[in-house]
C-alpha cells in the first residue's frame, strides 16, 4: 500500500532579515548574519525551504553582573568587566553575533547615561567584527534617551535594536529609521499584541520586513510549553499568509534559563540534582533546543557548553527531513 503524502504546503515564507553591514554596505562588520527565510515549520524541510540557519548571540552586559552564578562567571572571568573583551570571548565560544544588553542603564541599577551607553556600543563594535544586537533596560523613559544615542553611535552598522512595545515605540522606531537599524518588537506572550506592535511600527513608517519578533521567553519548567505554543501559533500564522507574523523570532534563552533555581543553585543547595557544571548548561541548552523546534531564529545565550550543545542540535535539526 502506498503511504499517502500528508505534507503541508505553505503560502508564504518567513521574512529574511539581515543584521550587520560590511564595509561595502556602509558598516564595519566582517560579515552579515541572515535570519528567517523559512518556508516550512521547523524540522519539516520536505515541505519547503528550511531557511537560514538559526543563530546564537552571546549575551553581553554593559556592567558586570552581580548575580550570575559561579558556573557562568568562571567562563568569562575578568572579561565581565569589559564589554568588548566579553563579546570577544563569546565569539570565541562559537556565537554568531553579540547581544549587548544595557542593563546598567536601568535607573535602579547603575543608571548609566545615554552617552556612557553609546560609548559601550562603540567599544563592542570595535572589539568584534560580528553584527550587534543592542537591547535597552526596559524602562520606557530611559530607553527613549539611551537607545537613540546608541542607534546614532552605531549608525550604518545595521544593528538589531530593541525593544519596542505596545506602549513605547515611537522614539525607537524613529531612531532606527534615521540610523538604518532593524527593530525588535516585543509582546507579552500574546499573538494579538505581537501583531499590534508590528502594526504600530508599520503605522510609524517602519517596514515589517525589518522587524524581528520577541514573543517573550520562558525557561524549561517555567512556562516553556506556553511560550512554545505561542511561537508555534505565530509561525503557522506567518507561513499561512499573515504578514504581521512573518517576522523571524528572537528568544532570550540565557537570561530565562539562568533564572531557574535548577540552573543556578549550588550543589550544596540542591543535592541530588547533579553537578552545577552539568545542570546549568543543560537547562539552558534544552530550553534553546525546544524553542528551536517552535520556530526560534535568534537565540541569546550565556554558557559555552549550552551554546555548543545547541549548535550541534541545529546541525542535526537542519538536516532532518531535507530531501
Amino acid at each position: 500500500m502506498e503511504v499517502p503524502d500528508t505534507s503541508e504546503s505553505w503560502k508564504t515564507k518567513i521574512n529574511t532579515v539581515a543584521i550587520g553591514a560590511t564595509q561595502d554596505e556602509g558598516g564595519t562588520r566582517a560579515g552579515v548574519v541572515r535570519v528567517g527565510g523559512a518556508g516550512c515549520i521547523p524540522g519539516a524541510a520536505y515541505e519547503g525551504d528550511a531557511g537560514e540557519r538559526p543563530v546564537v548571540a552571546v549575551e553581553v552586559w554593559d556592567v558586570a553582573p552581580d548575580n550570575w552564578p559561579a558556573e557562568l562567571t568562571r567562563h568569562y572571568g575578568d572579561a565581565l568587566n569589559d564589554p568588548g573583551a566579553w563579546a570577544q570571548k563569546g565569539i570565541e565560544m562559537g556565537a554568531d553575533l553579540v547581544c549587548l544588553k544595557l542593563t546598567g542603564t536601568h535607573p535602579d541599577a547603575a543608571d548609566r547615561s545615554a552617552e556612557e551607553a553609546a560609548t559601550t556600543v562603540k567599544a563592542v563594535l570595535k572589539a568584534v567584527d560580528v553584527p550587534l544586537i543592542v537591547w535597552g533596560c526596559g524602562v520606557p523613559e530611559k530607553d527613549n534617551k539611551v537607545l537613540p544615542a546608541c542607534a546614532s553611535a552605531a549608525s550604518g552598522e545595521n544593528c538589531l535594536l530593541g525593544s519596542i512595545t505596545e506602549k513605547n515605540y515611537r522614539t525607537l522606531v524613529a531612531a532606527c529609521l534615521a540610523d538604518g537599524h532593524k527593530l525588535i518588537s516585543e509582546s507579552p506572550l500574546d499573538i494579538n499584541i505581537a501583531k499590534q506592535v508590528n502594526i504600530l511600527a508599520q503605522d510609524s513608517g517602519f517596514d515589517l520586513k525589518d522587524i524581528v519578533i520577541f514573543p517573550t521567553t520562558g525557561a524549561l519548567g517555567y512556562g516553556l510549553e506556553y511560550v512554545y505554543s505561542i511561537m508555534e501559533r505565530g509561525r503557522i500564522a506567518g507561513l499561512s499568509g499573515d504578514q504581521l507574523l512573518q517576522q523571524p523570532v528572537i528568544s532570550d534563552v540565557g537570561a530565562e534559563a539562568w533564572r531557574a533555581k535548577e540552573a543556578r543553585a549550588s550543589d550544596d543547595d540542591v543535592p541530588g540534582l547533579g553537578p552545577a557544571e552539568r545542570r546549568g548548561p543543560l537547562w539552558e541548552g534544552i530550553t534553546a533546543t525546544n524553542l528551536l523546534q517552535a520556530g526560534g531564529d535568534i537565540f541569546i545565550m550565556r554558557h559555552p557548553e549550552a551554546m555548543k550543545m545547541f549548535k550541534e542540535a541545529v546541525d542535526e535539526f537542519m538536516g532532518v527531513g531535507s530531501v
Binding site: E166, K167, R170, N192, I193, Q196, I199, L200
Partner: protein, 653 residues
C-alpha cells in the same frame, strides 16, 4: 469691595439677612433668608433634589455637596465620615449661614428630558412597531366607561355579575377576577353613580382583573409608564394608553451607582449587608418613583392617572426591583429567582401610581440576559423576520442577539458603561449640552460639532465619543492602541501632572459649565475595551453559528447614544463590523421601546414571553476564545485589519 460688604466681613455679629445659593450643575441661583435649609432653597429655585421624607431628615436621600460657603445643622447618621469630610450634608438638615455653592450629586437628580433617539428611530418605532389595529392596541391596563341597566324585579342579576356582563360586552374579555374590597364597595359605587361607572381592568394572562370601579366616566385618562431599568441609567416614558402615544420621557442615573458600577458588585453588597436587599429594592423603586413624579409634575397629572408600569432591565435589576434575592445569579449554576414574574400591585413595591395599578415586568431569559434584550427583540421585530438580523444593545453590558423567526441566540459581554457616558472624565448621557457629533479639520481646528438641544457643551455622550475617537484616529492624534501622541505639535494635547495625556475638545470659556471638556487617556482605553468586548462577542457568536457578517441582512444598534450615531465612524473604530453602511441601522433605546409596546398591547406582552422562551443563550465566559478575540479587538479598528477593508482604505493603508 464697598464699605458695606467690608463691615459684613469684619463683624461676625452683623451677618447678612439673606444669602445667595447657587446650585450646580444646574447653574441656578436663589436668594433666601439666612438660615434657610438647602432643600427649601432648592424648592424655591425650582431645582429638584430627591427627598422622600419631605425634609424630616429621616430618609437620607437629599444628600448634596456644599462646595463653597458655611452651613449649620446637626450631623446625620446617613453620611459616612468620608462624605462629611468631602462636604456632603443632607439638604433638609443644612441651613445656609453664608452664600453657598451647592452641588447636587448625579444620583439625587433628574438628568433632563430624554429625546427620541433620532428621526430614524422615531419613525422606526412609530411606523413599524406601534400597534396599528384596534386589535393590537389593547393595553395591559384599560378603562371602560359603562352604563349599566339598573336592576329590576324582572332583571335581578347581582351587582358583580351585572358589571361583568356589561364589561364583557364592551371589552371583549370573558374571565374576570376581582378583589374582595372592590366587590364590597361595589353596591354603593354603582348606586351612587347612578349605574354609570368606569371599570379599570388589568391583563393577567387568561384572566382579566377588574382592579377598580369608579363613578362617572374617567376612561379617557389612562396613562402608563414604560421604564428601562438600566444598570447606569433609568429612563421612563409616559404613555397615553388611550391614544397609543408617548407623551414624554425622563431619565436619571441609577441611585445604585454608589454601591457599584456593575451588577456583580451590587449583588455582593446585597449579600453582605443586613437589609441590603430591602435597601436596594427601595433604591430601585425610588428611582422609578422619582421619574414618575417628574413626569406627573411636568404634565400636571394626578397620582391616580397612572395605572400601570411596565419595566424592562437586566435580570439583576429586575430582581432588585421586585426585592428578589439576586445572589444565585452570580453563583454556579447561575439561576435567578424568577424570569417571567406575574404582574404585582405597584404599591406593594413602593411605586407610587394609582394604588390599584399594576407593575408588569418584561420577562428575562437567563441570569445574564435580561428583560431589556427581550424588549429589544420585541421592538425591533427580529423574531418575525425571515432574514437574519443582529441586534447589538450597547449598555453597561453589551448584549447581542442573532436570529430570525426560526431561531434566536443571544450573548452578553461586559463592556462597561463608557459609551453611556459614565465613568469617563467628561462623559454624560445624551441630554442637553452633550456633545453628540464632532468633526476636526486638523488637530487644532474643529470643523463642526453639535450638542443635544444646541446648548453650550457640558460633556460628551456616546455618539460624541464614537466621533471623537474616529477623528483622533484619522488625524493620528491617537495611535491604534488608543494612546495619545504627545510628540505631536498640538495645543489641544496636554499632559496632566500625573503624566497622563488629555485631548482638550473645548476650553472652559467655550462650555456651558465653565470647565474644560476633554478626553483623557484612560477614557480612551475604557472606550477601547468596551468596543472590543462588544465586537469580540459578536464575532464569536457569528463564528459559533458558522456564519459570516455578509450573511446578515441587517445589523441594528441600540443603546443610549445621542440623537444619532455616525455608523461610518462606529465602523472606523471597530465597534461595528465592516459591512455596507446600508446594512447597519441605529435604533435607539429598544429596551424602553419594547416595554412601551408591551404596555400598549397585551398581544405584544404575550409575544415577549414567547421570545424569552425561544432564545438560546450562548455563554461567553466559558468560551476560551473570548479573551483571544477580545485582545485582538482591543485595537483600532482591529488587529486583523483584513476584517475592516473599508477602514484600511480610509486610514491610508
Amino acid at each position: 469691595m464697598n464699605d458695606d460688604a467690608k463691615s459684613k466681613k469684619h463683624t461676625g455679629a452683623d451677618k447678612p439677612a439673606t444669602v445667595n445659593i447657587l446650585f450646580s450643575p444646574d447653574g441656578v441661583g436663589v436668594e433666601v433668608p439666612r438660615g434657610t435649609s438647602i432643600l427649601a432653597a432648592a424648592r424655591k429655585a425650582g431645582v429638584f433634589i430627591n427627598s422622600l421624607c419631605g425634609g424630616d431628615g429621616v430618609c437620607g436621600k437629599c444628600r448634596v455637596n456644599v462646595r463653597l460657603g458655611r452651613v449649620r445643622g446637626r450631623t446625620s447618621e446617613f453620611l459616612t465620615r468620608d462624605e462629611i469630610r468631602e462636604g456632603f450634608v443632607l439638604a433638609c438638615e443644612a441651613n445656609a449661614e453664608s452664600d453657598l455653592v451647592v452641588e447636587i450629586p448625579e444620583t439625587s437628580r433628574i438628568i433632563g428630558e430624554v429625546r427620541e433617539a433620532d428621526p430614524t428611530a422615531a419613525r422606526f418605532s412609530a411606523d413599524e412597531h406601534l400597534p396599528r389595529s384596534a386589535e393590537e392596541l389593547r393595553p395591559l391596563f384599560r378603562k371602560h366607561y359603562i352604563e349599566l341597566t339598573p336592576p329590576t324585579l324582572e332583571d335581578n342579576t347581582a351587582d358583580l355579575e351585572r358589571l361583568e356582563f356589561e364589561l364583557g360586552k364592551v371589552s371583549g374579555d370573558t374571565e374576570f377576577q376581582m378583589g374582595l374590597k372592590v366587590i364590597r364597595r361595589l353596591p354603593e359605587t354603582l348606586r351612587k353613580a347612578n349605574w354609570k361607572v368606569t371599570a379599570s381592568t388589568a391583563y393577567r394572562g387568561a384572566l382579566t382583573e377588574i382592579t377598580d370601579v369608579a363613578p362617572g366616566n374617567t376612561a379617557r385618562k389612562n396613562l402608563g409608564i414604560a421604564v428601562d431599568l438600566g444598570t447606569t441609567t433609568v429612563v421612563a416614558q409616559l404613555i397615553d394608553l388611550v391614544a397609543g402615544q408617548t407623551i414624554g420621557a425622563a431619565a436619571k442615573y441609577s441611585a445604585q451607582i454608589p454601591y457599584g458600577g456593575d451588577v456583580v458588585r451590587r449583588i455582593l453588597y446585597v449579600a453582605r449587608e443586613p437589609d441590603g436587599l430591602a435597601q436596594f429594592q427601595e433604591l430601585t423603586a425610588n428611582d422609578v418613583c422619582m421619574l414618575v413624579q417628574e413626569l406627573q409634575d411636568r404634565y400636571r397629572l394626578g397620582i391616580g392617572d397612572i395605572s400601570a408600569v411596565v419595566a424592562a432591565g437586566n435580570t439583576t435589576m429586575m430582581h432588585l426591583l421586585l426585592g428578589l434575592d439576586p445572589n444565585e445569579i452570580r453563583r454556579e449554576p447561575y439561576v435567578g429567582v424568577a424570569y417571567g414574574p406575574p404582574p404585582f400591585r405597584a404599591a406593594e413595591l413602593g411605586i407610587k401610581i394609582d394604588p390599584r395599578g399594576l407593575l408588569y415586568c418584561m420577562p428575562c431569559i437567563s441570569s445574564f440576559v435580561g428583560a431589556d434584550i427581550v424588549a429589544g427583540v420585541l421592538a425591533t421585530g427580529i423574531h418575525k423576520r425571515d432574514k437574519l438580523s443582529i441586534l447589538i444593545d450597547i449598555g453597561t453590558n453589551g448584549e447581542i442577539v442573532i436570529g430570525n423567526r426560526e431561531w434566536m441566540m443571544c450573548a452578553s459581554a461586559s463592556a462597561g458603561p463608557a459609551f453611556e457616558g459614565s465613568e469617563s472624565s467628561c462623559g454624560m448621557r445624551a441630554t442637553a449640552g452633550a456633545l453628540d457629533h464632532i468633526r476636526l479639520a486638523d488637530c487644532e481646528t474643529l470643523l463642526s460639532f453639535s450638542t443635544v438641544g444646541d446648548s453650550d457643551p457640558t460633556g460628551i455622550c456616546g455618539s460624541g465619543y464614537v466621533d471623537l475617537l474616529a477623528e483622533l484616529l484619522r488625524l493620528g492624534i491617537i495611535d491604534r492602541t488608543g494612546r495619545i501622541n504627545t510628540d505631536m505639535d498640538c495645543s489641544r494635547v496636554r499632559v496632566r501632572k500625573d503624566n497622563v495625556p488629555e485631548f482638550v475638545v473645548f476650553g472652559a470659556d467655550e462650555t456651558g459649565h465653565g470647565k474644560d471638556i476633554f478626553l483623557a487617556q484612560e477614557d480612551i482605553l475604557n472606550l477601547l475595551r468596551a468596543k472590543a468586548a462588544i465586537y469580540a462577542a459578536t464575532l464569536i457568536m457569528i463564528k459559533q453559528l458558522s456564519l459570516s457578517f455578509d450573511e446578515i441582512d441587517e445589523i441594528m444598534v441600540a443603546g443610549a447614544f445621542g440623537n444619532y450615531l455616525d455608523i461610518e465612524n462606529a465602523v472606523l473604530i471597530g465597534l461595528l463590523p465592516d459591512v455596507a453602511a446600508t446594512k447597519i441601522r441605529f435604533v435607539g433605546n429598544t429596551s424602553i421601546a419594547g416595554a412601551r409596546l408591551a404596555c400598549l398591547s397585551r398581544q405584544r406582552y404575550a409575544e415577549a414571553h414567547e421570545i424569552a422562551r425561544s432564545m438560546t443563550y450562548c455563554e461567553l465566559s466559558t468560551d476560551a476564545k473570548f479573551m483571544d478575540e477580545f485582545v485582538s479587538a482591543s485595537f483600532f479598528p482591529h488587529t486583523d485589519i483584513e476584517r475592516f477593508p473599508s477602514v484600511m482604505a480610509k486610514l491610508g493603508r
